[in-house]
Symmetry: D2
Subunit: 332 residues, 4 copies
């Protein structure tokens, strides 16, 4: 039985509580938040969970195996470090940290102490993304990834829209492709937010010619969650707002015959569309089952600190590009 503590009971924390309570071989024994109101909601719903405003109390309890850190990103590093140093495995909300060097330090500490860092890249566990991973080789040579992740709100008070939404796309990219990003440009604008970008476009170039474009916005009248992944053989459309047909595989392509350039002859192939059946299961449930399985059976996590670090590297590069107003190199 894995004993779990959850720190941070705002928007996401209660989902962690609910899922760790629901799966086999785990139970939540602590829930922690600074707001009385958030503690009361958990207490009413789960009378057996101990609630506390002081997370240090959790660090001292030997029964705790895993601490979930669902506090604001700026606090992840400090809390995670204390948890690890108290000998606890951690699940850190995305983004893992707000600085590359902090993420690197956490990885180092965990390695020394032989502890697990899980990073909560929930999309990696979502059935549509797993289905895409399963069929990704069918697309042939990958050409580009294009994501639109836009809707109205919710403006965050302490981060820009890139830090809020782009980690989803970065984690999907990293999960699907093991490519090395070379450079990146981020362009944003502050329309309604006083300090932070509320709309941004990010373009990443990879060393193999692959490119990724990600459009994130808190200011769109329509909610769009759409990713196109194109290869030279097939193309995939992942539309997360479509309740019935989330993933479509297009047997489409174009070939250019260079041998007879003049005139120029591109050949288009436009075939059938295939809509694979997608399991209807909560991504976080799948993730939590995986985490419990890793802890009990000493398995390698799908999303460990190194994966979390990659996302932080991309986020830091976005910040740099926004600041300098130009394309920046990415250290990988």
């Amino acid at each position: 039985m894995i004993n779990v503590a959850v720190i941070g009971l705002g928007y996401w924390g209660p989902n962690l509580v609910r899922n760790f309570e629901a799966v086999d071989n785990a139970k939540v024994i602590y829930a922690c938040d600074l707001l009385e109101e958030n503690l009361m909601k958990i207490k009413k719903r789960y009378p057996n969970i101990k609630v506390t405003k002081d997370y240090k109390e959790i660090l001292k309890d030997d029964k705790v195996d895993l601490i979930c850190i669902a506090t604001p990103p700026a606090t992840h590093y400090k809390i995670a470090k204390e948890c690890l140093e108290s000998g606890k495995n951690v699940l850190i909300e995305k983004p893992m940290t707000t600085k590359v060097k902090d993420a690197e330090e956490l990885i180092e500490i965990a390695k020394e102490l032989n502890l697990y860092i899980f990073v909560d890249h929930t999309f990696v566990f979502s059935p549509p993304v797993r289905k895409i991973k399963e069929i990704i080789n069918e697309i042939g040579k990958p050409l580009y990834f294009d994501s639109e992740r836009i809707n109205l709100g919710l403006l965050q008070k302490d981060v820009n829209v890139i830090w809020d939404l782009a980690p989803h796309d970065f984690s999907i990219l990293t999960f699907l492709f093991n490519f090395k990003p070379k450079s990146l440009i981020a362009i944003g604008s502050k329309h309604k937010h006083p300090y932070y970008e509320d709309l941004a476009h990010i373009m990443i170039r990879y060393d193999n010619g692959f490119i990724a474009h990600i459009h994130v916005s808190w200011l769109s009248p329509v909610k769009i969650r759409k990713i196109i992944i194109a290869g030279d053989k097939k193309m995939i459309l992942y539309d997360d707002t479509n309740p019935f047909e989330k993933v479509k595989v297009y047997d489409k392509g174009v070939e250019v015959d260079l041998s007879k350039e003049s005139p120029f002859f591109p050949t288009y192939r436009s075939g059938d569309i295939y809509v694979p059946k997608i399991e209807n299961k909560e991504p976080l449930r799948i993730e939590v089952e995986h985490i419990v399985d890793c802890l009990i059976n000493k398995k390698k996590p799908l999303v460990d600190g190194y994966e979390g670090l990659k996302v932080v590297k991309l986020l830091e590069a976005c910040d740099k590009s926004l600041r300098e107003g130009k394309e920046v190199e990415i250290e990988w």
Copy 2:
């Protein structure tokens, strides 16, 4: 009666012939192309139109009032100059020219000779765009313009995807807003095309804080023709592939109360949606009627050489940005 000649009978030319033949007070008297096959198609369909391979023949005929130039962009300048110098009014296919200085010279010549230059920005005449123009003030302060114009094919042999598709967006932007663009960045990639970008993103910054993003691609598995125009009061979605609901006006917005920043309080407004009825008429027909009306009644054209020039300026800036790999200033 306006006597019309059409030079260039590839894809678009026959549409010009058909529409000038169909409207009142105009008739096509010449059709010109280098390919016998294209001439024969016109001849079979319109036995009364004279066909020729030599456009100089048209220049000499005093009966000709208007010459439509639907040849490849690289030839526009040379042919249009000869037409104007022969005393003919011209309708030039978009983009007007391939160089800013060429467009400026054509404008100068037309001014001296007191002739009309019409540029064929067909979208400006499309019923959805005209409806948006009609209601544009309802959106309050304009925030951004975001266009996605993507599909599979048709790769052009002599221009990149920006020159092929972005003039539509540039002309819509120029028609809807009289804003001054300040700088622009274009990012593209050549996936299947040997020489030219087949996928590109363009971001334009205006001096009033307005921004425009345009995504054009010949490599998308799905056909998307979607523009979001957001203001601080309302937001408009123009989806040209939706047969029944092309324009939607969202009573949506977000306000941030700066007086009580801590904590940060954005207020979202999400009201009704309004789908105005859009007339179902061919844009080119409306345009051709407008041109004939201008010529007969000496009216000012909606899209003259100055409008054509603006689009060429943006295209030239895109080329520069692609070449230099960075954001570039726009001279306006």
Copy 3:
């Protein structure tokens, strides 16, 4: 404080428990089911609720104010009668009973004992249906109601698809229009179900010329929940599977000028579409709040036994029509 008991913890009962637990001024004190497994699920989730396999225990407890009956339809009459006779108010799952005379008897008993019968026509409380009710007069003279309520599964073992799905439409019809149905024809087929119709069409004629058509099916590859309500001035489309635009009001109509019949001149009006904002709140939550309000403040219920009876009358007429293979009169 209203003390609530819920009998029947299959599919719908737990939703009743959850909502009565969540609203102010009510709490669930008993949950009853024949299956140990269903009781355990409630017990685990709500440790303070007494669970029992014997509903007679509930009848004897003076603290119970309201009993929710979410058992199979065939048992509603017997259980509701005992509840009422024990002095309890009841909320009966739809359909209220399986026979008209049973519903009439329950109404009679409740009247004598001065008790409430609520019937759980949840759709009447759904925000889209309430919005339609609010604007229904805009449509002018109502012409027809056309509902498609089809999907794959879930075949019921003891009733046909009409008894399973059509009560939703019957209750919406009764809520929106106070028209008197005159006759009805039901046509069904048993494709996969051994005993009961798994696909059916119902056509109801009203004495004012209004007609309703309802298509219900357990055998459709696609899930459709779509109602068209047409008037001579406007028409409404209610598409419950559309997450963002559930209700659309079309400014559309047709007028036939009878004065100049030869030739025949219909005039079509096709104007704007209006998509009213729909509140996003669980219908059952709204309903439960209403029921608690009725009980505490002695208000008249929106859906009482008489409304429940109307739905049973239509269901009974459907059975008769299926049996006799022809249109049947409806006693109203």
Copy 4:
């Protein structure tokens, strides 16, 4: 070379002219209508076609091989009879005639004189319907056909909505399945039309248990052209208003295990969806090519008089059912 005459130049006739002019091995030599205006339009567009108000002129001309009859349905029988008796092959617009006995007589005459009767069931030639025919065996045992063919207008002055729209569905049904219809019920209502039904539902029972439901309406705010064809192995959705995905094949089904009825165990199968590529070609062009091929190479037509007769039998049964207000037997 097949010489063609077209009688009736209202809505559909000009499409026949255009297509017979466009295909190889045929040309239109006569076009006939009672209205000068309709003749002038053809004359302007096709200066080489002789136009006439008197179709008897066409009957006398030996050069004419095929006469297309696109006049109102009530005149089909008389004109087609004269054409056949003058030794001309005929293409008759749908519905073939307004009476079963008239269609039978025409078939008889054509047989005796060794002439072709083609009936213009255009949908049979449409690429989506042909694709469905190609894959129809994949659905297993056919269960039902359900068509919704509704929109606003165009009310016809001399027939009801069944005669106007249902022939499309009847011809598709007849083309896809060779089943024997047993009985039929038609239910309609006259909302805006003074004499004829403007909305109707038709339910056809076949002797093998298959059923068809067809909903036709001139009074719907939305345009729907949707057919579901369900089999016990797969189900097909044909949505003719979807520009990109007209035909979808659902790997869905339900099995009921009768061996262990108590409790009742249906098993649902919900697998992938497959969207076959559909050729984008005008159905009438395909049909006209087929007709010319039949005439030149003495082939058997896909839609001959017998097929036309089947549709008229179903239409006549609908009339009878509407008149008698009940289900009627169909003689096949």
